[in-house]
């Protein structure tokens, strides 16, 4: 009886495997699909041909398809994370000595203080005028694009040269965005520039890096958007900048498990922007050589910073840093020195992360120019590469968790005027900006809102 029970159980295991395999093979939809939670295209059933079998690409594609098409994939990933987190010792900072402890204690205080400020700010906003200027794409009717304005596409380039469009953004949105960019441009001096770029996240890049199916990526963003904007607004093709380096960079451009980009990808992008201005970009390795920084008389090497991790993978966003000082700016604490590292929910940022809601970075180089960097977390590793070219950089992130109208205390135009901003760098990953109208609504609303 007992043995028969074991026998039945083991057969049930086999039956499970068989049913899962059959379900995957018999699934009606074998094409590529977008995984919204991962922001990447899931693999399609690979094309079967003599060539693809001989070179093994069918088999590797089949394996990826099975993995991507597995019915309970998200649940499995959640289970894996839950189990690994269960045996993870709670993270209370690097604890490598008293100085580190002091640094991280300070950081935790700042994090807690900011969260409290944020809550107070929101309460104050609602008390003063009801809900803030939150608007969404649905609330505002987009201007209708003229007939000659096309949709914007982002595509992957297959090994055979064919383009495979993975994202399409409507022309109407591009017209709306161009109007916002022009309004920001108008706040700058005549010789000022507004650079707009929209990097792709790791999950898109990792369709190409180390893979054979796709060999590159591209977009017609510049073709569509550049004609719509005023002089002094430069639409940057970030995909073209990174394309040659995707499989040929000194170190990986993107992590495999995390969403963000590595410092080197930010560095390559920054270098291209600096070069386009006729300036000589500093070598990436030179940054690493130059830059460790001091906190309370303690040196932190770039390696120590680089060692911090997220989701069990090292994110090398902090290995480049300029000899800068970072400050939080807000309506309550005004200017407060920030620690350089910010460990926020496992995500390691630096130069104060996104908190503030405004941040000021003093580069220590007297170039006579100041800049505003606005965008999501991709700006964090980007800013240090711009620091040597500006006296001061102010930075903000208008996403919900990082911005409070009340704490800002002034509109974006006021900040631009107060800090004498010459250039603006706007950097939003596509899924924040294009796929979610909230960000553009906020960019528009916060620019000139009255206080």
């Amino acid at each position: 009886m007992k043995k028969r029970f074991s026998f039945v159980c083991i057969y049930l295991c086999l039956l499970t495997l068989l049913l899962c395999g059959a379900a995957e093979l018999l699934a009606p939809d074998k094409g590529e699909r977008l995984s919204e939670s991962e922001n990447r295209m899931l693999a399609a059933f690979p094309a079967l041909s003599v060539k693809s079998v001989a070179d093994g690409s069918f088999m590797s594609g089949f394996e990826t398809y099975l993995s991507d098409a597995f019915p309970f994939r998200d649940g499995a990933a959640a289970f894996t994370d839950a189990v690994t987190d269960l045996v993870r010792i709670p993270d209370d900072g690097p604890a490598t000595g008293e100085m580190e402890d002091a640094l991280w204690d300070d950081l935790e205080e700042q994090e807690a203080a900011f969260q409290q400020l944020l809550e107070e700010g929101r309460a104050a906003e609602e008390a003063q005028s009801g809900p803030g200027p939150e608007t969404s794409a649905e609330d505002e009717a987009l201007p209708v694009a003229p007939a000659d304005v096309e949709d914007v596409h982002i595509w992957l380039v297959r090994a055979d040269g064919e383009r495979e469009v993975i994202f399409t953004y409507p022309a109407d949105f591009m017209v709306s965005l161009s109007e916002i960019l022009n309004r920001y441009r108008a706040k700058l001096p005549e010789d000022g520039r507004l650079y707009f770029l929209s990097p792709q996240v790791a999950d898109v890049a990792n369709n190409i890096i180390g893979k054979t199916k796709y060999v590159g990526w591209g977009t017609d963003l510049v073709d569509v958007l550049q004609p719509l904007v005023d002089d002094g607004v430069v639409i940057v093709d970030d995909l073209a900048i990174l394309d040659p380096y995707l499989n040929d960079a000194p170190s990986p451009l993107y992590p495999t498990k995390d969403y963000h980009w590595h410092a080197i990808a930010a560095s390559i992008t920054a270098d291209a922007l600096i070069s386009s201005q006729g300036l000589a970009p500093a070598d990436y390795d030179q940054y690493r050589y130059w830059l460790s920084f001091r906190h309370e008389a303690k040196d932190y090497s770039t390696e120590q910073l680089a060692g911090m991790s997220y989701n069990r993978e090292t994110i090398e966003i902090m290995s480049a840093i300029s000899p800068a000082e970072s400050y939080f700016l807000n309506n309550i604490t005004e200017r407060k020195r920030g620690v350089f590292t910010m460990y926020e929910g496992g995500y390691v940022g630096f130069l104060g992360g996104h908190k503030g809601p405004w941040r000021l970075i003093e580069g220590g180089f007297h170039t006579g120019r100041n800049a505003l960097v606005m965008g999501d977390c991709f700006t964090i590793p980007f800013i240090p590469y711009m620091a040597p070219y500006y006296d001061q950089i102010i930075s903000t992130d208008v996403r919900d968790n990082f911005y409070s109208v009340y704490l800002a205390g002034a509109n974006i135009s006021d900040y631009i005027a107060h800090y004498g901003v010459d250039d603006i760098y706007m950097m939003w990953t596509n899924n924040y900006l294009f796929a979610n109208g909230t960000i553009s609504s906020r960019m528009s609303a916060y620019l000139d809102m009255s206080y």
Binding site: L17, T80, E303, Q304, M308
Partner: protein
């Protein structure tokens, strides 16, 4: 194809069992097994099947020729042809670039040649082919009548690409006919699931931890904590990776009616390096003992000759693991330790308390991992001396601490399970309780492994490169 891939688990394995058990005749089952084994091997790189076929058929004809003559000189010549033919394949793919580049360096030439792409599992199946020809030569087993039967022995998928190295004489009878009882099938699948869990839940997690440390280290000097943590994690990864594969191979073999010998017996519980090599990769040790060491004279020709034979065997053992000087050094490192234990420390070690014996063993073993891990000699030296605190960046570093936080409990669990704790506990349970817990554990491990496999992307088998 790897055992821990979804293709294998969801498609190949169920399909194999359906086809295998749908017919009862040995001929049908051998045919199914051969076809599926070739599919298994060809999945990914089908052209490499040709290399295996050529080597197999060449040795088939050599073995047939051996049965047709009793003239010892001719028999030796035929044996030499078969052995040289098989080894030349291995040499060409695995060692030609290494020896050519080493020679060029020695002669001060700037010329170099690129490594060849290595047919998967070539080190394993070459040795199996050799055991066939040699066993027929030694008349330990009869030559096979059919080349397809020999191909089945060589390509039989459970042990094809990462062992255990199955000696022909051990399975000659099973190639003809196998009896599969339901209980054995159940036990075989349980063993397979155990191996799958070791691979997915332990080896892969240790591997991910090492990957994180390597990325964070970025080629810079290790801290003392980082050096020891890397070493511990790597030793656990390689043990679980390889022993898991052996468990899966043995389990799958059992479900198909084959009886493979054990390949690992809790090697980290050894009390000396000598004992370690009786417990670690046993099939490889047996191969070198039976087909190299003993033919060289073993230990029966005096101390000097014994030492020389050991040096030859351990240099070859090192080279078998990879075409690089660090592997040779790694083999010779163990050779020195075995000689020291055999001729100098044997009595002393046995008189020590067991804990001290174990510490001797474990510390000596630990020093071997940097030699094995780093193929670059300067990195190897750096990694090795870092264990002694030389050239380190400090006592600890954030990367090592982050890994310790994330994987410390996991690694500790993996280390405890690498010792014979489970058998110790199991022996103290009643049979009923043991069986019930065993079954529950198997089912839980199966579910967890499947979920981990789908939820994680890190899944390479280290031993495939050998």
């Amino acid at each position: 194809m790897v055992f821990s891939s979804l293709t294998f688990l969801l498609i190949f394995l169920p399909l194999l069992y359906i086809l295998y058990f749908v017919g009862r005749s040995p001929r049908w089952r051998n045919g199914v097994l051969l076809a599926m084994s070739l599919l298994f091997y060809g999945w990914g790189e089908p052209l490499w099947i040709l290399a295996m076929l050529v080597s197999t058929f060449a040795n088939f004809f050599c073995a047939r020729a051996l049965t047709r003559t009793e003239d010892e000189r001719r028999r030796r010549a035929i044996l030499a042809v078969g052995v040289v033919f098989s080894l030349s394949f291995l040499f060409y793919f695995k060692y030609s670039a290494f020896f050519a580049n080493s020679m060029a360096k020695l002669l001060g030439l700037s010329w170099s040649t690129a490594d060849k792409r290595l047919p998967i599992g070539i080190s394993f199946y070459t040795f199996q082919i050799l055991t066939y020809t040699v066993d027929v030569y030694r008349k330990k087993a009869p030559a096979l009548e059919s080349p397809l039967r020999l191909l089945l022995y060589i390509s039989c998928f459970p042990q094809l690409i990462a062992g255990p190295i199955v000696q022909y004489a051990d399975v000659a009878d099973q190639l003809e006919e196998r009896r599969i009882l339901p209980d054995e099938f159940t036990a075989g699948l349980q063993r397979f699931i155990k191996g799958l869990a070791k691979k997915v839940l332990l080896a892969n997690v240790c591997g991910a931890a090492i990957e994180q440390m390597t990325l964070a280290g970025n080629g810079e000097a290790l801290s003392l904590l980082g050096a020891w943590l890397s070493m511990l994690l790597y030793s656990l990864q390689i043990y679980y990776d390889f022993s898991a594969y052996s468990d899966m191979a043995i389990g799958l073999g059992q479900t198909l009616g084959f009886r493979y010998k054990e390949n690992f017996r809790f090697p980290f519980a050894s009390l000396s390096i000598t004992e370690f090599w009786r417990r670690w990769h046993i099939s490889m040790g047996s191969f070198f003992r039976d087909y190299v060491y003993i033919p060289l004279g073993g230990n029966r020709r005096g101390t000097a000759r014994t030492v020389l034979n050991m040096i030859v065997v351990w240099a070859l053992t090192g080279l078998w693991h990879g075409a690089a000087w660090n592997f040779v050094l790694w083999g010779l490192y163990f050779c020195v330790l075995l000689i020291v234990e055999r001729f100098l420390l044997r009595d002393l070690l046995t008189r020590l308390p067991k804990l001290l014996q174990w510490l001797w063993f474990y510390v000596m073993l630990s020093f071997s991992w940097p030699i094995f891990y780093y193929t670059d000699l300067s990195a190897m030296t750096q990694g090795f001396v870092a264990l002694f605190g030389v050239g380190i960046s400090g006592l600890s570093d954030p990367a090592a601490l982050a890994v310790l936080r994330s994987y410390g409990i996991w690694a500790l669990g993996a280390f405890v399970l690498s010792l014979p704790v489970v058998p110790y506990v199991s022996e103290r349970l009643s049979e009923k309780l043991r069986d019930t817990l065993g079954l529950i554990l198997t089912l839980l491990l199966f579910a967890a492994s499947l979920l981990f496999l789908i939820g994680q992307s890190y899944n390479p088998f280290i031993y495939f490169r050998f």
